[in-house]
């Protein structure tokens, strides 16, 4: 994936993909697997037809939608047309904030709210994990509210 992004000259995204997609999430996945065990527990054998159908439907819809995507580097693509914000960002980011890498001002300046929300999402994710997993260690017999709150 990282190489694919680099191929499309999106070095920032490729960098993130390599660090997060290949690095951290692999480790987190392994940690999660080690925590919950490698085998499914109980539940019996269920038919795989419905999930397979759902997957096929979504994949079909995505493939159908992908036919409308502009070709890579197509000058007529919506992002490359004159008068859009993308053109404004490309033309003015250097004088606006003195930053040669246009990605950084787009993320941090023009789209500052987005990045703030993104940071908050990460904070909340860590918060949720801390709350869930730390409490799980503290109450070995299940959460307290099961018996106490009635």
């Amino acid at each position: 994936m990282a190489l694919l992004w680099c191929r499309m000259n999106a070095l920032d995204v490729g960098f993130t993909e390599a660090a997060v997609g290949a690095g951290i999430s692999t480790v987190l996945m392994l940690a999660a697997v080690r925590r919950v065990g490698r085998h499914e527990s109980g539940g019996g054998r269920r038919s795989g037809v419905a999930p397979a159908l759902a997957v096929a439907l979504v994949a079909g819809a995505l493939l159908y939608g992908a036919r409308d995507m502009p070709r890579v580097g197509d000058p007529g693509a919506p992002a490359h047309r004159a008068g859009t914000v993308a053109q404004h960002y490309l033309a003015h980011s250097m004088e606006d904030s003195g930053s040669p890498n246009v990605v950084t001002p787009v993320l941090g300046d023009y789209r500052g709210y987005d990045t703030m929300g993104e940071t908050t999402v990460i904070f909340i994710a860590a918060l949720a994990v801390v709350l869930l997993l730390r409490q799980a260690g503290r109450w070995p017999r299940g959460p307290r509210w099961k018996g106490g709150a009635q």
Partner: protein, 161 residues
Amino acid sequence: VRRSTESPIVRYVARRSVPFIQLYALYVLGHGEDGPGGGFQGGVIFASAFVLLALANGWAYGRRAAPARVLDPLLPTGCMVYCGIGLLCWLAGGAFLEYAALAFSDDPHAHAHWRHYGLIGIEIGVMITVSSAMATLFFEMARPAQVQAHVDDVGEEVGRD
């Protein structure tokens, strides 16, 4: 993750790599304006040094290098740095996150400068939250079963194996 690797070479190399990885993370952070990189990537790389430490030397060893009492307060700190810069801009008379307002002048050059500083500021905020969040996610998910919550102090006993 629970126990450390047998090989002393792996453990030593992992320990010695940490400062270099983290220095590189800071470089990625600082380099974000000129090339690929920025707070998010820098934060992830910074946190990965702790992951390496824990993988090679055992969970408790890594957790002692990045204890919860340090990481937990850092989680909201990054968000607060970000929002704080936004609020400062607002107090300075601009819109929320309008870094140019911090220049207190009409000179476009000063505006560009302050937008640059604002960018660096929020990137630092992003990095603080991302690195502490990634390390916290890892340590909480990989915590060995026998280590109970609020672990920093328990780490001592477990670290001995």
